[in-house]
C-alpha cells in the first residue's frame, strides 16, 4: 500500500530513540524515579538546581548504557564526556541539560531487522546518556504554568540510527527491535505509554538516483502506530509539496495523534544555539577494559541468538521464531512449555490460542491467566491422545475462566478420549450387531453407510471414543 503511494519516490528515515534507563535513581542524584508519584515528591537539591549543587554520576546508569551498547553491537568508548546543552525553559532547572555531544559513551553499532525482502542491517550512529527535563503542566491554573520536577534528572539513553530505513514498516521494525533488545537487557522497560521509550523520526523523500531530500524531524512519537502513521503522512506531505513545485523546509514537526497530521513546531532558523561545552562539574568518564569485559560476560542471550537457537533446536520457522523472540517474556514462556514437548504443537498453541486469548483480554504475557506450566499440561493431554484439539480449545477457555488445571477440567467434564482398543471394539461390535440390516446393505455396496456406523459408535461412547480407532475398527470388521 505504502509502496504504491510513493511509487517513484525513495523514502529515507533516521530515528532517534529516547529510552529511559531502567534505574532506581536519577543520572546525577539519588532521587527515586518511580512513575506516577505525587508531583515534586522525587526532587533532590540537585534536581531542583539549588545554588552550589553538583552532579555526581550514577554508576549504575553508566553500566546500563554500556550494556545497551553491547546489545546494539556497538563500540564502547572508553572515554566519554558530559556536555552542557544550554537553553532556558521553566522545566529545565539548571538552565542546561547535561548530555553527551562530541564524545558519547557508545559509538557505532547496528541491529538486524526482518523486512519483506529478508534481513536488513540498520546502522546505529551512537548512544549517549542525558538528563530528562521536568514536566510543565499548563492546565492546572488559568494564570500559571505548574512545573513537576519528578522527571528532572532521570537518565535517558538517546540512540541515534543512521538514515538506513526506507519504509514506515522498516522504521517500526527498527524501533521494535531496539526496544526488544533493551528489554532483554533490562536496561529500559520499553513502556511507551508511560513515555519510557519515545522516538523522534527524521523523514525525507527523493527520486531514486537523486541526492537526498530535505528532512523534517517529527518529535516525540510514543507508539508503533503513531510512528507508522506519522511517516506515511509526512512522506505524502513532502511528495505533494515537491510535486507542486514547492520545496520542503528543514524543520521540527509535531504529530497530532487525533488528526494523524504533522504540523510545524519550529524551523531550522529558529533552532536554538545550545552552546554545548564540556560540563566542568564532571570529569571525563573513563571505563576500563576489565570492567567492560565483565559486563560483556554478563549480557544475557539476545533475541537474534535465541532466534537462531530456536530454529536449530526446535526447528521453528524463521517467521514463528521471530514472533516468539520479539519479547523476552514470550520467549521464556515458550521455552518453559517446549521442554520435552512437540515444538510444532507448542508453537501453534502459544502463537495461536494463547496470543488470541491475550489479545482478547488485552493482556501482556507476564499477566497471562494461563501459566506456562498450565499450558504444558494441556498440551500433554493432547499429545497423549486424551483429548482432541477441538476439545483442548474448550478446556483452555475453561482454564481461563476458572483458573483450574487442564487435567482437572478434563476429568470433571469426562472429556478424556477412549483410546483403549478393546473397549472401542466392544462398542463397534455392539453397533454392528444391533444393525444387521445395514451391515448387509453396506456389504452390498452402500458405502455411504460407513458414516452411520461411525456415528452410532461415537454416540454410544458419548463422543469420547478416539475417532481414528473407531474408523479403523469398523473398516476392519466390515471387510471381514
Amino acid at each position: 500500500m505504502v509502496a504504491q503511494m510513493i511509487e517513484g519516490w525513495n523514502l529515507v528515515i533516521g530515528i532517534e530513540i529516547h529510552a529511559q534507563v531502567n534505574s532506581k535513581s536519577k543520572l546525577f542524584s539519588s532521587s527515586p524515579t518511580d512513575f506516577g508519584s505525587k508531583p515534586n515528591s522525587q526532587v533532590s537539591l540537585i534536581d531542583a538546581a539549588m545554588p552550589g549543587m553538583l552532579p555526581v554520576i550514577n554508576k549504575f546508569c553508566i553500566e546500563q548504557a554500556v550494556k545497551s551498547g553491547i546489545g546494539l553491537n556497538a563500540k564502547i568508548n572508553k572515554k566519554s564526556i558530559f556536555d552542557r546543552k544550554n537553553y532556558f525553559y521553566q522545566d529545565l532547572p539548571q538552565g542546561y541539560q547535561i548530555s553527551q555531544y562530541k564524545d558519547p559513551i557508545v559509538g557505532e553499532g547496528f541491529v538486524e531487522i526482518e523486512t519483506e525482502n529478508g534481513q536488513k542491517k540498520i546502522g546505529v550512529e551512537r548512544l549517549h546518556l542525558e538528563q530528562d527535563a521536568g514536566k510543565s503542566l499548563h492546565d492546572q491554573d488559568p494564570n500559571f504554568t505548574f512545573v513537576d520536577l519528578n522527571r528532572s534528572g532521570i537518565a535517558l539513553m538517546e540512540i541515534v540510527s543512521k538514515p538506513d530505513m526506507n519504509s514506515p514498516e522498516e522504521a517500526v521494525e527498527y524501533v521494535r527491535k531496539v526496544r526488544s533488545i533493551l528489554r532483554y537487557l533490562g536496561t529500559c522497560d520499553g513502556n511507551m505509554e508511560q513515555g519510557s521509550l519515545r522516538a523522534d523520526v527524521n523523514v525525507s523523500v527523493n527520486k531514486p538516483g537523486n541526492e537526498l531530500g530535505t528532512r523534517c524531524e517529527i518529535k516525540n512519537l510514543n507508539s508503533f502506530k503513531f510512528i507508522h502513521a506519522a511517516i506515511v503522512y509526512e512522506a505524502k506531505r513532502q511528495i505533494k509539496l515537491i510535486e507542486q513545485g514547492e520545496s520542503v523546509n528543514q524543520e521540527t514537526r509535531l504529530f497530532n495523534t487525533q488528526s494523524g497530521e504533522t504540523r510545524s513546531m519550529r524551523s531550522k532558523e529558529d533552532a536554538h544555539d545550545y552552546r554545548y561545552f564540556p560540563d566542568p562539574d564532571l570529569l571525563p568518564l573513563t571505563l576500563d577494559d576489565d570492567w567492560i569485559k565483565g559486563l560483556q560476560d554478563s549480557i544475557p542471550e539476545l533475541p537474534d541468538q535465541i532466534k537462531e537457537r530456536f530454529i536449530n533446536e526446535y526447528f521453528l520457522s524463521s517467521y514463528d521464531a521471530n514472533i516468539i523472540v520479539s519479547d523476552k517474556a514470550t520467549s521464556e514462556y515458550f521455552e518453559d512449555v517446549v521442554k520435552n514437548r512437540n515444538p510444532k504443537l507448542v508453537t501453534t498453541w502459544v502463537t495461536g490460542e494463547l496470543f488470541s486469548i491475550l489479545n482478547k483480554k488485552n493482556l501482556i504475557i507476564e499477566d497471562s491467566p494461563i501459566t506456562s506450566k498450565q499450558l504444558g499440561e494441556l498440551i500433554d493431554n493432547i499429545e497423549n491422545g486424551k483429548i482432541s484439539n477441538r476439545q483442548a480449545k474448550e478446556v483452555l477457555e475453561e482454564m481461563c475462566e476458572s483458573g483450574k488445571g487442564a487435567s482437572e477440567i478434563i476429568d470433571e467434564k469426562g472429556l478424556s478420549q477412549i483410546s483403549d482398543e478393546n473397549e472401542i471394539e466392544s462398542l463397534v461390535d455392539n453397533v454392528l450387531n444391533s444393525n444387521p440390516e445395514n451391515v448387509k446393505k453396506y456389504k452390498n455396496g452402500k458405502d455411504k453407510l460407513f458414516g452411520f456406523f461411525v456415528g452410532e459408535a461415537m454416540k454410544l461412547s458419548k463422543g469420547k471414543a478416539n475417532p481414528k480407532i473407531v474408523n479403523d475398527l469398523i473398516k476392519k470388521k466390515l471387510s471381514q
Binding site: L45, A48, A49, M50, P51, G52, M53, L54, P55, V56, I57, R84, N86, F88, Y89, Q90, P93, Q94, G95, Y96, T145, V147, D273, R275, Y276, F277, D279, P280, D281, L282, L283
Partner: protein, 491 residues
Amino acid sequence: MRDSHTLKSLAVLLENKKISSKEVTSEYLKNIESGKELNCYNTISQEKALIDAEKSDERRKSQNLRSKYDGIPIGIKDLFCTKGVATTASSRILSNFIPNYESTVTQKCGEAGMISLGKLNCDEFAMGSTNKTSFFGSVKNPWKSLNSDNELVPGGSSGGSAAAVSGDLCVASLGTDTGGSIRQPASFTGTVGLKPSYGRVSRWGIVAFASSLDQAGPITKTVEDAAIFLDIISGHDEKDSTSSVNPKENYYENLNPDIKGMKIGIPKEFRSDKLPASTQKSWDECADLLKTNGAEILDISLPHTMSALPAYYIIAPAEASSNLARYDGVRYGLRVKGNDLIDMYEKTRSEGFGDEVKRRILIGTYVLSSGYYDAYYIKAQKIRSLIKSDYVEAFKKVDAILTPSTPSTAFEIANEPSDPVQNYLNDIFTVPVNLAGLPGISIPFANDENNLPIGLQLITNSFEEQKLLNVARNIEETISYSETPEKWWLK
C-alpha cells in the same frame, strides 16, 4: 605587635580557660558592630553565634570538644550556602535566598566547633577584584594610605573576608578564589590568603562562578593559621566529582619551616617595568631572604604567562554564563513578574544581576556561541593546557615559585578604573595559578612607602600544600611582619 587573636593563640586561651567562647564571640560581635562602616558583613548572625558559643563552652566544660578550635568565631564569605542563614552571593537576585542545606566546607567548620559570626560581603557572584560589584555596596579596606584619608578597596572578590580578618571583625575567614579572589584581597589587606589545589577542598554548596577554577580557602592572620584552617576544611567529598581522592596531610602538625636545599624559581615573565619599585624591592628581598635561609634561587621561564589573562576571561565567563542560568526566577530568589515566561526571565535577570555579572554572562554566551566556540573557547582551553605544561616543566626544576601577588597595592575606591579590562589586570599574577589548578598563597611581606601592605605569592605543584606552607612559614618566621591597620573607623 599583634594585639588580636589568631586561631592558634585563641585555641590556647580557650584551653587554659583564660577566655570563654562566649566572651570572645561577644568581643568580635562588638568589633563587627563598631566596624559597620567597613561594610564587611552582609548578614550578622548575632543570636545564633552567641547560642553556638554557649554550646561550645558547655562542650568544653564537659570535655566533649569537637576540636582544638571549638568555640573560635570565624566569618564566611556570602557564597557558601549556610542552612537557615541568608546566602546572597552579594547579588540582588539571591537577596532573599535562605538555603536549607549547608556547604561541605562550612559543615566541616561546624564539625570542628567553629562559630560563624555571619556572612561576608564580596563581589557579586565573586566577579570582581575591588568588591565594588556587590549589591550591598563596597567593602572598605581597613588600611589607609599615609597621606590620604580616602577610602581604599580591600580587593576582591573575597574583599569582606580579607577586610574582616585585617580589621579584627573575625579571627579568620573563608573565601573563594577563581582567579585570585583570595590572594589579591589578602595582599591588599596585609593578611594571609591560601588558594588550595583544585580539588583539595569541596565545592559542594558554594555558589558556583566558574566550576573548573573555583576553589575555597582560608584568609588568616598567619601562615600557621592557614595550615590549621586548611586541615579543617580540606579533604575528599563524594558529593563533588572534581574533589581529589589524594589523601590530605596534617598541614599544621607537619609544618616545617626548614627550606635548606629547596629550589625557588623566579619567573622572568612576571617581571615588569610597571611594577611599583617597592613591590619589586620586596620581591628581591624575599628571594635574598630565602637564599640566606638555605634555598637556591633560580631564574625560570613560564612562557605563556601573558596569555593567561585573555584565556581566563574566556573560560571563566563561559562557565559562569551557564552556571548562572539557574537564577531564572522560577524556583527561588528574585522574581520580577512578566507578561509571559520570556518576559519574566528578562525582567528578573535584568533587575537581579549587576553590570559586571551581566557583562560576563554576555561574554560567556558569546564565546560559546556556534561559530565562535572554536575561535574563543577551544583556543582558550589550548592556552590553558600550555600554561599547565609551563608549570609542569617549571616544577621539574624548582620546589616553589615566588612572585608578587598583585601588580599594585590597594588603590582608592574612587579611583577604580572605568575600563573593565584595566580592572582585570589586578589578577594578572594570580590567574595562571587557577588555570593550572595549583595551590598558591599570598603572604604580607612589607609595607610600601604609603604604609600599604605588599603581598608576595608562593606557588607549588598540585597537592603540595605542605611544601607551600613550609616555605611561607619560613618567610613569616624570618620577617615577623607585624603591621596592623590603624582602626580609623573607631574614631
